[in-house]
């Protein structure tokens, strides 16, 4: 019985991180109709910044205050997003979608090397947070407490985001703009403001995803591209532009991966793409998506 709990924890752990990345991607698409191919790099930047903050700048500190550094990566990613949107993306809103995709692909290549330039080739770790929290026992099992913190942060982020979008004035602007940008603009919504806000929140989520995985794993080059592909699977399954879809998609992928590792170790990776392909065949717009 206990093992099921452990498997559930593992699946939720993966789900939390995936939701943060894919949810950000989906939110940006939902509001701005842009698929940001550089989204994975913002996840990576979140990871590297937090790793530097915890593992390098404040290395050796044993204070519990270190946990406050955890969001540093998310803030850094959000700041980067707030700069990128007005400078590089805004000129493309009136141009065909192809150009938007291409410019984000260019940003992906630049950010990938920027990370290498700043942090060098070696992995950066921040394991002190992971170790500080220690482990707990579940029946005869030992489980790291930090993983539960990640799950909790993922859950809080999901609820917070939902509340933000459905319960605040900004959320109303966001939803209005996503439904009809021109009409919202005509009614006096500052679309530029809404766009930069949405993009920043999306980047914040990706950065937060990177920030919370880094203590138990590490920040390595190439993690952004891998994360992007995984979040594509999530949005393909759940439906692009839908937060519910990102949640459900992340959950499906999380559970599926946990099962695959245990039952079909050979198919660990392929099973994710296969489920994406099956969903595509049955419901090409994803489970929660609206076909255009």
């Amino acid at each position: 019985m206990d093992i099921l709990v452990i498997h559930l924890f593992n699946a939720l752990l993966y789900t939390s991180v995936l939701f943060l990345i894919a949810g950000g991607l989906s939110l940006i698409y939902g509001v701005m109709r842009i698929v940001n191919l550089a989204h994975g790099n913002l996840f990576a930047i979140g990871a590297f910044v937090t790793a530097s903050a915890v593992g390098q700048w404040f290395a050796g500190s044993t204070s519990a205050w270190l946990f406050l550094l955890l969001p540093a990566g998310a803030v850094a990613a959000a700041l980067l997003g707030a700069v990128l949107e007005p400078t590089l993306l805004r000129p493309f809103y009136r141009r065909p979608e192809e150009y938007q995709l291409l410019v984000t692909y260019g940003i992906l290549m630049i950010l990938e090397d920027l990370i290498r330039f700043i942090w060098g080739p070696y992995p950066v770790t921040a394991t002190s947070l992971f170790e500080k929290m220690g482990s707990m026992t579940v029946g005869e099992w030992i489980y790291p407490r930090y993983n539960l913190l990640v799950i909790a942060i993922g859950g809080v982020a999901a609820v917070g985001l939902w509340a933000f979008i459905y319960k605040t004035r900004f959320g109303v602007l966001l939803r209005a703009t996503s439904q009809d940008m021109r009409r919202a603009s005509a009614l006096g919504v500052n679309v530029n403001y809404v766009y930069v806000l949405a993009f920043t929140i999306g980047c914040f989520m990706a950065g937060l995803g990177g920030a919370i995985v880094v203590p138990s794993q590490s920040a390595v080059l190439g993690m952004g591209v891998d994360a992007l592909v995984l979040s594509f699977i999530v949005v393909v399954v759940g439906g692009l532009g839908s937060l519910d879809g990102a949640m459900v998609g992340a959950l499906i992928v999380g559970v599926l991966r946990e099962t695959a590792v245990s039952v079909f170790p050979e198919l660990e990776l392929a099973v994710l793409y296969l489920i994406a392909a099956i969903v595509l065949l049955v419901r090409p717009a994803g489970l929660f998506g609206k076909a255009t």
Binding site: G134, V213, S218, P265
Partner: protein, 456 residues
């Protein structure tokens, strides 16, 4: 079954030693070949630089192996250049190329280095996925090449069965799985159930295959109860650890390395994995000695790619190692891994071949002359003697492994100096003339010629 030897008899026949004392093969070895004053080169030697194209991982997760390889090459080149260069005249110039660009890009880059940059020699390569790709290209280009690693058996078994221009200096990959399994049979003969976690690429597959075939012979009662194949360079091993724990094995075998292994052992610690089973690894301490923390458990069978750990041979027993480690540490402020040792030895193998060829013919030797000197060469490196077999151009040195242990001298675990395991390499790799086999020649050789030991 009276013809079946006992495990102990067979292991001693393999020449496996586990002792603090230095293996017999090293004792009383003279260093005449290295220490001898250099003779003046014969004939006229051009003074244009000797260009070595060095391709390895400078970026990405593989850089923990790649950077030390380059540094080993660089250290040797600086030493040689300080004496005037190769044959006293030609300074070594190293051109860096990043192996992380991907196999296809690497093929292109090798061509560019030869045809456009006009390199004299190619060196490097970390990934066992890249040597089978680049080996044939080097042969096509007629480019003198010493691969430092990329140690897959596949290269000389299949991709280039009759090499002319390419050599490889570090131990062949099958030795990893075999050494690990011999170490397990020697240390924990009562093992019954085995779990595996291997990176999902050729190195992981190879370790799995050779560990399995050796355990089939030496631990016939052991069986596999769990397998997990995480993607190479992934950092989340939570589900793989859960799966392994659920199988409740006596032993976990893993060929994870570098950043992957560091992430793995940190996560495994928090899951209490090391307290619930024995752990045997093929490359844990080999990749980057200083990247493993003191929180790493002691007594883990810690592989070093069957090649080299800077702490062995210890002390002044093998002065070449002592001076190498000191010089390397002074220059780069870190300790060399097996890649650094391999690249360092490879550079000196080139130097030795050039000097021998020059002595025979005078002037700057052509590639054919260098190749014929490298074939069959036996040279001392920091880790011991390396023998380059003439038939397959593969470098062989006695395999070593050991157990992780924390000592006050180093801020990271090293191999327990009291319990180093060494195996003569010829006893765990297929000999010359053995037909090329599948998955590897060594696999079929072990399968067909090793007895299954008696169990009590």
């Amino acid at each position: 079954m009276s013809d079946r030897p006992s495990r102990r008899d067979f292991l001693s026949k393999l020449g496996v030693t586990t002792a603090a004392a230095v293996g017999g093969s090293l004792a009383g070895v003279g260093l005449a070949g290295v220490a001898r004053a250099e003779d003046k080169p014969k004939g006229t030697i051009p003074d244009k630089p000797f260009k070595i194209g060095h391709m390895t991982f400078f970026t990405g997760a593989g850089a923990v192996l790649g950077e030390p390889m380059y540094k080993g090459n660089l250290l040797a080149a600086d030493e040689i250049n300080a004496t005037g260069g190769l044959l006293g005249k030609r300074k070594i110039e190293i051109l860096k190329a990043d192996e992380a660009a991907g196999t296809d890009a690497n093929t292109k880059e090798m061509r560019r280095l030869k045809l456009s940059e006009k390199i004299d020699m190619f060196m490097g390569i970390t990934s066992s996925g890249n040597t089978p790709a680049l080996g044939p290209v080097a042969e096509e280009l007629k480019l003198l090449t010493i691969f430092v690693d990329g140690c897959t058996d596949f290269l000389f078994d299949k991709a280039v069965p009759n090499p002319r221009y390419i050599f490889r200096i570090t131990n062949i990959q099958s030795a990893d799985g075999a050494t690990c399994a011999v170490g397990v049979a020697l240390t924990w003969p009562s093992i019954k159930t085995v779990a595996h976690i291997h990176p999902d690429y050729s190195y992981g597959r190879n370790c799995f295959d050779h560990f399995s075939i050796v355990t089939k012979k030496l631990l016939p009662k052991a069986s596999n109860v769990s397998e997990a194949w995480p993607k190479l360079f992934s950092t989340d091993f939570t589900p793989h650890i859960t799966k392994t724990l659920a199988a409740k094995p006596d032993l976990l075998v893993t060929s994870l390395w570098g950043g992957d292994y560091v992430a793995f052992y940190k996560q495994a610690l928090q899951h209490g994995l090391f307290t619930k089973m024995k752990v045997a690894t093929t490359l844990a301490l080999g990749a980057a000695p200083q990247s493993i923390g003191k929180d790493h458990p002691e007594g883990v069978l810690s592989g070093v790619h069957s090649n080299y750990h800077f702490s062995y041979p210890a002390g002044n027993r093998w002065p070449l190692n002592k001076t190498f480690v000191e010089k390397y540490h002074a220059k780069f402020n870190e300790y060399p891994n097996f890649q650094a040792e391999g690249a360092y030895t490879a550079t000196y193998a080139l130097k030795t071949a050039l000097e021998k060829a020059n002595k025979l013919m005078g002037g700057w030797p052509d590639d054919d002359a260098i190749i014929s000197q490298l074939e069959g060469m036996m040279i001392p490196g920091p880790g011991g003697y390396v023998y380059i077999r003439p038939d397959n151009h593969q470098g062989y040195k006695d395999a070593i492994t050991g157990f992780s242990k924390n000592v006050p001298e180093y801020p990271f675990p090293i191999l327990d100096p009291e319990r180093i395991i060494t195996i003569p390499i010829r006893n765990i790799t297929s000999p010359p003339g053995w037909p090329k086999g599948d998955p590897t020649s060594t696999y079929t050789w072990i399968d067909q010629t090793w007895p299954t030991v008696k169990t009590t």
